[in-house]
């Protein structure tokens, strides 16, 4: 009996020592939380696909072989900032989550951004659009990874005004994102010599857009700018076709469209639309290889959206930074500072960097949706029509209102 008791005691002591070591700087545990819309109108462009992308990043990073232990959890924020904040608070306080990924929906993102800063956690936002995340609301704990309203407005807005679309009318989703996108696009249109004739705000997640489209039609504006996203955009486009808006000579501008939206609309309805993304699965061998693996594991064999690709790319960089630090300090600001120091490089977004204001920069691509006869197969949807280089695609630091930027 006695030797066994001693053995147990020794084992217990060893475990305790191990646990105590775990709390030190060479702690190699990570907990990732994917906070997204798992069931609503944005679920296809983020949602379960974002969790899959995170899972793939963990597998591809080779961190497990280096002795890291990585946990992944996910939750549905239902596009409600209050629900999101409650989950986020619980994740930080109880679940000890180190990093928040995806966090689409600008209203939700701004709320989580504040909480993450207060708790010294990390937010890599790949889904929300508002450029405020790296401007007035910038934080030493947040990186805005994929795109933002400033970039969308400049790339798509400028191209359309240059092509002769100098009068605009906005259909705007009535929350933080729509307002930011309309504001940033209006600035570009006016700066490029165009005019904004009016706008109408519609509630988030509307099913009928006919009233709003009639107002846009009556404005006689050459361009109808859709400052909305997901299901709202697809319904607007579909119903605009019905009301003869495009055949009447007005042009629809999708300020924020995702490949999942184009897939839902079908090429017959979506053909000819111009919009901007920073990732498309069919860009090069690296993106194609990732997309193929992603699609095989995703529901409905869907290709990754830029939001989902961003989750993968952001986590790969996060892992590199932790590896360079030699352990997880569980100190958000410190890890983010390290991430900003290191140049980014991955198969999906290529080479880039993270600026002082938390903006990840990479090129922006202006795409046009192919005609049905040009498409060679499922998910072959885009033609590249223009590229804005990384250093010009986002808001110049000189114009930034972010206090982290030293001028």
């Amino acid at each position: 009996m006695k030797p066994k008791f001693i053995a147990q005691l020794l084992l217990g002591t060893a475990l305790l020592v191990g646990a105590a070591a775990g709390a030190r700087a060479d702690d190699k545990t990570i907990k990732i939380g994917v906070l997204t819309d798992n069931s609503g109108l944005y679920a296809d462009l983020g949602g379960p696909g974002s969790t899959l992308a995170a899972q793939m990043a963990i597998e591809d990073s080779g961190m497990a072989a280096k002795g890291w232990k990585i946990d992944l959890i996910s939750a549905d924020h239902q596009n409600k900032p209050d629900v999101a904040t409650n989950i986020a608070r619980q994740w930080v306080d109880v679940e000890k989550v180190d990093i928040f990924m995806d966090v689409l929906n600008s209203g939700v993102a701004l709320a989580v951004n504040n909480l993450v800063r207060e708790k010294n956690s990390i937010l890599i936002d790949t889904g929300a659009a508002t450029s405020d995340l790296t401007n007035a609301q910038c934080s030493p704990n947040t990186i805005h990874w994929v795109y933002d309203t400033y970039m969308l407005a400049h790339s798509t807005g400028q191209a359309l005004v240059k092509a002769g679309g100098d009068t605009w009318f906005f259909l705007t989703a009535d929350y933080a994102f729509g307002a930011a996108l309309e504001r940033d696009t209006t600035a570009v249109v006016i700066k490029s010599g165009g005019k904004v004739l009016g706008s109408v705000k519609h509630p988030l997640n509307s099913s009928d857009f006919s009233s709003f489209l009639l107002q846009a039609q009556a404005s006689k504006a050459k361009i109808i700018g859709m400052a909305n996203a997901g299901g709202d955009t697809t319904n607007t486009i579909k119903q605009a076709a019905e009301f003869g808006i495009v055949s009447g000579g007005q042009k629809l501008a999708g300020l924020l469209l995702f490949i999942t939206d184009v897939h839902a609309l079908g090429l017959k309805v979506a053909q000819g639309l111009n919009f901007t993304e920073t990732f498309y699965w069919d860009m090069n061998d690296g993106t194609r290889a990732f997309a193929k693996r992603f699609s095989e594991r995703s529901k409905n064999k869907a290709m990754p959206s830029m939001v989902q690709a961003g989750v993968y790319s952001g986590l790969i960089h996060y892992f590199k930074a932790l590896d360079a630090l030699g352990g997880n300090p569980h100190d958000g600001a410190k890890v983010v500072a390290k991430m900003k120091e290191m140049p980014t490089d991955d198969a999906l977004f290529g080479q880039g960097s993270i600026r002082a204001d938390g903006r990840k920069i990479h090129p922006a691509y202006l795409f046009e949706v192919k005609k049905p006869e040009e498409s060679k197969g499922p998910w072959d949807y885009y033609k590249l029509v223009g590229t804005t280089p990384a250093d010009q695609a986002f808001r110049p630091l000189a114009e930034s209102a972010c206090p982290l930027v030293k001028k």
Binding site: S39, L45, D208, S210, Q215, T234, E242, A264
Partner: protein, 287 residues
């Protein structure tokens, strides 16, 4: 002024969906005393049924208008026979909870298999294009929706309020034992009535498929408004729900013009006002 006419007409189009859906709810509530929260999910199933008919069997829109309500109606009757039947005589709350649960399950299953962005369904060739009415461009399909749903609504009203069959139905709600004594199979009649209400929801689903994306959550987004319509019109009143359906569509359309931010809430504001002034609804009788 022109814009106003246009908004009135657009309001009527939305009103058609409200009317068709609230009519089905009113029929089910009036005859079965069940608050059918699964109505939105059944509406969605109607749209999906049309999509499957077209893409799996090559059966087009016109046949879908007939087949989808029958298929979904049969699904509804199975629900009634296997589950709802056991709730007869119990408090309304039980039926509400059961149908709400069914709605969540059906929506969850569809969302799991088809995602949330939805599937495309084209307008049938015969109804493509539009007419210029001077004050607006009216898509032919939208005009068709208004006319067709008006006809269906009036036919349903006639069936229940003016025919022998309707008289049996109404009698069976009042006093099922007595009606059974006349040799009428009351349980079967109730099942068929539920099937009829569900069929109306599926029909609305087929009508809306070419306008909206065919999405798993299309019904969930709509059903709350439709319940407000039913409450305003008076629970169980057939004509009341038809008229309120169209009227609220128009009021909502006008709100979208004058103050678009409130267009999602105006129906509920009206509901509160009506309940304060006349708790039984505009045309409802006291229970």
């Amino acid at each position: 002024m022109q814009a106003l006419y246009a908004q009135l007409l657009v309001g009527l189009i939305n009103g058609s969906f409200y009317a068709l859906l609230s009519l089905g709810l009113a029929v089910i509530f009036g005859m079965l005393n069940i608050i059918n929260f699964a109505h939105g999910a059944l509406y969605m199933m109607g749209a999906f049924c049309a999509y499957f008919l077209l893409n799996l069997a090559g059966i087009g829109y016109w046949w879908a208008l007939l087949i989808a309500p029958i298929v979904v109606g049969i699904f509804g009757m199975i629900l009634e026979r296997t589950m709802l039947k056991w709730l007869t005589g119990l408090d309304h709350l039980y039926g509400l909870l059961l149908t709400f649960g069914i709605a969540l399950i059906v929506q969850g299953v569809f969302q799991n298999y088809f995602g949330s962005s939805g599937l495309p369904y084209a307008i049938p060739d015969e109804l493509k294009g539009g007419m210029n009415l001077g004050f607006m461009f009216l898509p032919v399909y939208r005009g068709w929706v208004v006319v067709f749903s008006l006809v269906v609504c009036l036919a349903t009203w006639y069936l229940i309020e003016r025919t022998q069959l309707g008289a049996y139905l109404r009698a069976a709600t009042e006093n099922p034992t007595l009606v059974r004594a006349f040799g009428i199979n009351v349980p079967r009649m109730i099942t068929l009535t539920y099937g009829l209400g569900v069929g109306l929801a599926a029909l609305a689903g087929v009508l809306s498929a070419p306008i909206n994306q065919v999405r798993p959550l299309m019904g969930a987004d709509l059903i709350i408004v439709v319940f407000a319509v039913v409450v305003i019109g008076g629970m169980g009143s057939i004509m009341g729900s038809i008229i309120t359906g169209f009227a609220l569509g128009v009021i909502e359309g006008l709100t979208k013009y004058f103050y678009p931010e409130a267009s999602n809430t105006v129906v509920f504001v009206l509901m509160v006002l009506v309940l304060l002034v006349k708790p039984t609804g505009l045309t409802g009788r006291a229970a």
